[in-house]
């Protein structure tokens, strides 16, 4: 769980960086998307790098979900009778919402891939963008409810990363003192804010017209 989660953290950081290319204009953004497909050629076939990443991420998703299901069912079996009254004293909203929040993210990722990769659903004019992912991004976030879906997903992602970052470091046994634990908690905040904030910049900028076609 921790290892697959850390892979996702690496991925979202890279993906977020790529998205910020939207601020550099249509050409840079599309060039970057194109570059991802040519990365490693001629050593790798066209889209070879992309497929290595895809296979790796799919494997990580499977591991991550399998662990989540195992932990969830063990927890349910370990406490079959619930408390009539139970207070939260040491947990955070992020640590308490890992399971439902993770499911929300899964749903979002399915929708997101349909939106930008597999079907390229363009809710504003049906144009799939063809070789122009920049146009698809702008059209998407010109639609207010799409922006809302993405922003809600980023809140869920921020929460998931806030606890997930700390938790993975603790699971790997890297927080053996109060200081290192405080650092791991701080890392959770930084990753959550940078990633969720960074991802949210593009949709928000499209919505208010800073990024346009």
């Amino acid at each position: 769980m921790a290892v697959s989660g850390l892979l996702f953290i690496g991925f979202v950081l890279g993906h977020m960086y790529g998205n910020l290319k939207a601020f550099a204009g249509e050409e840079s953004f599309n060039e970057y998307a194109h570059h991802l497909r040519e990365l490693g050629t001629p050593m790798l076939p066209y889209e070879g790098f992309l497929w290595i990443m895809r296979v790796g991420l799919i494997a990580a998703v499977i591991v991550h979900i399998a662990c989540a299901v195992a932990l969830w069912s063990r927890a349910a079996k370990a406490r079959p009778v619930k408390y009539a009254v139970k207070k939260n004293r040491g947990s955070s909203i992020s640590s308490r919402t890992m399971r439902w929040g993770g499911l929300t993210l899964l749903l979002f990722i399915v929708w997101h891939l349909l939106n930008f990769t597999i079907v390229k659903i363009n809710p504003s004019n049906g144009d799939t963008g063809g070789e122009n992912p920049y146009a698809l991004v702008v059209d998407t976030f010109d639609t207010w409810w799409m922006t809302i879906i993405y922003l809600v997903a980023m809140v869920a992602l921020g929460l998931h990363l806030h606890h997930g970052t700390f938790s993975s470091l603790q699971t790997l046994g890297l927080t053996n003192s109060a200081t290192s634990r405080a650092r791991a908690r701080a890392a959770g905040w930084v990753v959550a804010i940078v990633v969720a904030g960074g991802f949210s910049l593009v949709p928000l900028s499209v919505l208010v017209g800073i990024i346009e076609k």
């Binding site: 927890a75 370990a78 009778v81 004293r89 046994g173």
Partner: protein, 247 residues
């Protein structure tokens, strides 16, 4: 003080229990929580009802028997054991809900009494060191570095009360296990069995049906002995090292 008590009553391990409500008057602020329950039981016995069964032994915060979930908090609102909790932590007119620890490996025997022998089996699986019995060895013959000794002492204060399990949304006993693994793992005497210890204890823990840790941290906040969360990290680190070395 006058209190309304909502208490879990359950005849025996297989009976279905329910929360019963009692009114209790004449509670003094200076009473301990268990003395308050003693008062309730006197009242129940006088009126010919079955007294509420609850556990206690030392009543001085060192044995870990007095396991009660009080208003949704293990051992109640203070960082201490139930026996060291006093009624001055409550107010006149309060409603107090009292439940047993809830975990499949801690079955309810009667009312508020649970069977915590799953903890004993975890300790038997690995929470020990092997030493010759007979005359005690010279105390300073095996030197322990000060920082390690301090850490070992701090986590050796675990009394095995089970509050960590009770508070954990996953029903995991990782804090309890981590405390023992850290305590023995920091000391020279704990080294010979160090790697098999963690593997065997975790194996027994999972076998007993405790949940898996997701580092939520309710345990450390509930612990009357303030065992810190880093013992779980230590457990994970020792487990990783042990598995890597083929234990």
């Amino acid at each position: 003080m006058k209190l309304t008590l909502k208490i879990w009553r359950q005849e025996n391990p297989t009976a279905t229990g329910a929360i019963h409500t009692y009114e209790l008057d004449g509670v003094s602020k200076d009473m301990s929580f268990l003395e308050m329950l003693d008062l309730l039981n006197e009242q129940l016995v006088t009126s010919g009802e079955e007294p509420v069964a609850f556990d206690s032994d030392c009543r001085e915060g060192i044995c870990g028997m007095c396991s009660l979930m009080i208003n949704g908090e293990a051992h109640g609102p203070e960082v201490t054991t139930t026996c060291q909790l006093h009624m001055r932590s409550f107010n006149d007119g309060d409603t107090i809900t009292i439940e047993p620890w809830r975990a499949e490996p801690f079955p309810v025997l009667k009312d508020l009494v649970v069977d915590r022998s799953a903890f004993d089996r975890i300790i038997q699986a690995g929470g020990y060191i092997s030493a010759n019995t007979g005359s005690a060895p010279e105390a300073n013959s095996v030197p322990a570095p000060r920082d390690k000794a301090m850490r070992a002492f701090n986590v050796a204060t675990c009394i095995g009360c089970g509050a960590c399990v009770a508070a954990c949304p996953n029903g995991s006993a990782s804090l309890f296990m981590g405390a023992k693994i850290t305590h023995l793992g920091e000391l020279p005497q704990g080294q010979p069995e160090r790697w098999s210890r963690v593997v065997d204890m975790v194996g027994q823990h999972d076998h007993e049906g405790f949940g898996g840790c997701t580092n939520i941290g309710e345990c450390a906040s509930a612990c009357p002995k303030e065992i810190p969360l880093d013992v779980i990290s230590q457990l994970n680190k020792d487990l990783r090292t042990a598995l890597k070395n083929g234990h």
